[in-house]
Amino acid sequence: MSDEKIARPLGHGSAGLKLSASQFSVPRGSLWARLPWIAGIVGLVGIAASAVVGWGTEQFYFSWLVSYLYFLSIALGGLFFVLVLFVTKAGWGVVVRRVAENVMSTLPLFAVLFIPIWLGRHELFHWTHEEAVATDAILQAKAPYLNDGFFLGRAVAYFAVWALLSWWFAAQSRRQDHSGDHAITHRLQLWSGPSIFLFAVTTSFAAFDWMMSLDPHWYSTMFGVYFFAGALVGMFAFQAIVFIGLERTGLLRNVVNTEHFHDMGKLLFAFTVFWAYIGFSQYFLIWYANIPEETIWFEHRMAGSWESVTLLLAVGHFLVPFFFLMPKTIKRNRGLLLAGAMWMLLMHLVDIFWCVMPVLHHHGVHLGLLDVTTFLGIGGLFISMFSWLLARHALIPVKDPRLPESLAFENM
């Protein structure tokens, strides 16, 4: 028993050294290898079509903002997930971490895609209208924060932080594919804590700047948390779909198994419930105190056909998935988990749409061509970059010291 006192190093050395990155990469000529091109073309066509259909119109910028925030939230969710896996020293998640790293590595793309939002700030944000600010005491009070210069400066800061964190964590992880160096794991664990703090602050203020200030009189201390909760629902849904897709094309069959899918399903379930808790808390407290300055935000989302969307969120984003994702058998069944994840991905889009669009369309839901083209445009580029990264590196961190533990993982 005495040699069990300290768990001996796995494989009497670095067991992971025997696997190499090329053994677990996307095969040349496969669908995944061609996806960057296909998605890239879809993306560029979508953007071109959007520009042709409605460049400069209010609808263009609002549709762009919805799709932008949707895909950005998934990328941010990926960043958070990677950081949490390191800070908790999780064993089970090593096999899924590389995909999340690739998701977060698309963040620099969003810096570029932000340009139309900056160009369209006049159409999007009421507080950019100088005549309005001149006659509105509340907007004047907020002017030190809500002004062009500081707004842009903050955006630059957010992207700098996100790009730095995502690049550094992903690059270190990929370096470990070749060296198997334990020091890398130490380093990433050490810095994941402060990184989470940076993530929390930048994500919250980005949500304030790009979503909450659409209605510049309104405010909610919970809003950053709300955006974060939805982002994670989107991320975990996306992740599950990616892995099911990989499995169906014959990749990672011996690596990512039912136990991992069960955990991915649990995360999706947990954050669906967390989103509902946060969303309901925000709604409920505002409803109860009944202060017009606050309730107006929800009033706008109960006007006309927006009421149906609100109901759809309550039932479709919470009630139904709550009962659907709860049973173990569903989470362990690929087909059912796929259905649940796709539904949640849709619901997350509805959530972002519901937060943003009522500012433009007061009387009810209005779906148009621009919504579709901007979605294809931004989504296409997102998928393109993601799949490009996926094909460039190993699909799993082949020399991560905790890989053996992740492979052997069994649920309760």
Binding site: L10, A15, A141, G224, L285, L403, A408
Partner: protein, 483 residues
């Protein structure tokens, strides 16, 4: 014989990347774990126990006197006034409930996260929860004034034809805290059944055997029973997790549903929950530092357990700090002069002393946990845990007093000072808490013995085989590195 003195090995300087460090030190096997936990129950209690019992007993007496005098004479013996109609009582209520939440977190949430290290501390933490809830319930019970009609809060048909007001957060509290107490008790008791069986089977006297036998309900370690038991345990953990989130959220709604600046803010529910876990872990830390030394459990409640607890305190303390930041920013951003005044008043008004105590204890002191030296030094952990609890008490005090004493109309402004009876009731509640905890240590298994055994390497049916499961998985992948 197994080491009971200060361990000569540790599980914190080990490189966790090579493999998970052992949770239980000192070369324990199943039997020695049983001995370590059961022996204190069967022997005479150490002197330290008697001292704490006596001290807490006298505070318990103070609690009795304070309560009786309060019910006899009325709420006027407290310092509550206009405008501060809620004083120490509500602060203490939230304080105690918050402390209770760590027990449920350790039992339920850490279980769902598969954190094996919880098994050394969950039994004591759950006991702490139940006693904290008992202490908490005193305050709403007596602060109503006519405590003898407190049953009006229950939906019992009566001759007045009246029902409680279900639209009030104060009533949601009644249900939430009662349910929380009951579910925590059920979870604690269910977890104890196998260990009560252990004490029963070691009993030397007939009375002991009868009492523990009755409590253990005839548990005989049957695998068929274990299957249903594990299912119940998982379900209880899955239920207790949203329960703990909901209870402190509902407590936060006592304040957040109002229109008062400093109270009405949407982030309160998760912020209160994070704060509760923060203060609760601090109390667990305080209790375990003492308990493990007095009862010689240093190899079961190890420095690694303390390090993990301090990390959770760092996380939840940071969440609390985040919430402070958000509140402050949004108060400015809102442009609402009342909101803005409230926050300026907190930091620079008559209660500034309370505010800065809170900031120092809650935001600054847990930042020390970034450094491993602070996370693994028992004396520092003890001191910091007390700081955190002081800070968290002050947080609730700042929320209550600073928002109430200066609200919308300056002519109503006032100041609140506690009286002797405010303080004595609070001090007395500590008496109840520690007295009950002493009784728990004396008569019930203070560590979840069966659960600790499951996290030892010997409990694994594959233990002793040539290769561990991770090694086998890795080897099979290396042999066939295809998809």
């Amino acid at each position: 014989m197994k080491s009971s003195a200060a361990p000569t090995e540790d599980n914190i300087s080990h490189d966790p990347v090579d493999g998970r460090a052992p949770l239980i030190l000192g070369g324990h096997d199943f039997h020695s774990i049983t001995e370590a936990v059961a022996a204190p129950l069967e022997a005479k209690p150490p002197l330290g126990w008697w001292i704490v019992l006596a001290a807490s007993g006298s505070l318990l007496g103070l609690l009795g006197i304070s309560t009786m005098w309060l019910i006899w004479e009325g709420i006027g013996i407290w310092g509550v006034n206009n405008p501060v109609g809620w004083g120490w009582a509500i602060v203490n209520f939230v304080f105690w409930i918050g402390i209770g939440h760590a027990g449920t977190l350790i039992s339920a949430i850490l279980f769902l996260f598969r954190q094996k290290w919880r098994t050394s501390i969950n039994r004591s933490a759950e006991a702490m929860t139940i006693f904290a809830v008992m202490c908490a319930l005193i305050f709403p019970g007596v602060h109503v004034g006519r405590a003898w009609v407190a049953y009006w809060m229950m939906p019992i048909p009566n001759q007045m034809g009246m029902w409680p007001n279900f639209r009030s957060p104060l009533l949601w509290d009644v249900f939430a805290v009662s349910v929380y107490g009951m579910v925590s008790f059920l979870f604690w008791y269910t977890g104890m059944i196998p260990d009560l069986g252990t004490i029963r089977d070691r009993s030397k006297t007939k009375i002991r055997r009868m009492v523990y036998g009755f409590l253990a309900q005839g548990w005989r370690g049957s695998a068929r029973h274990w299957q249903h038991y594990e299912s119940a345990y998982l379900i209880l953990a899955a239920l207790a997790t949203p329960l703990v989130l909901s209870v402190h959220s509902i407590v936060s709604m006592d304040f957040a549903v109002s229109q008062l600046p400093g109270w009405h803010t949407t982030i309160f529910p998760p912020y209160f929950v994070a704060g509760a876990i923060f203060s609760g872990f601090a109390m667990v830390m305080t209790l375990m530092v003492i308990t493990r030394v007095v009862f010689k459990l240093e190899n079961i409640v190890t420095l690694r357990h303390f390090e993990n607890m301090s990390k959770i305190m760092l996380v939840t303390g940071s969440m609390v700090g985040y919430a402070y930041g958000m509140e402050f920013f949004i108060a400015w951003y809102s442009g609402n002069p009342y909101e803005q005044f409230t926050f300026v008043n907190r930091a620079f008004g008559p209660y500034a002393w309370a505010y800065w105590t809170m900031i120092t204890c809650n935001v600054l002191s847990p930042q020390l946990f970034w450094f491993k030296k602070f996370r693994t030094s028992v004396p520092l952990l003890f001191i910091l845990s007390i700081f955190v609890n002081i800070g968290m008490w002050f947080e609730r005090f700042v929320i209550v007093a600073s928002s109430l004493h200066r609200d919308f109309l300056p002519s109503s402004w006032g100041y609140y000072k506690p009286t002797f009876w405010d303080v004595s009731l609070f001090a007395g509640s500590f008496g109840l808490f520690f007295f009950m905890f002493c009784l728990f240590l004396r008569f019930l298994p203070m560590v979840a013995t069966a659960e600790v055994k499951t996290v030892m390497p010997e409990a694994d049916p594959h233990h002793g085989e040539d290769r561990t499961a991770p090694e086998r998985a890795m080897a099979s992948l290396e042999e066939e590195p295809t998809y």
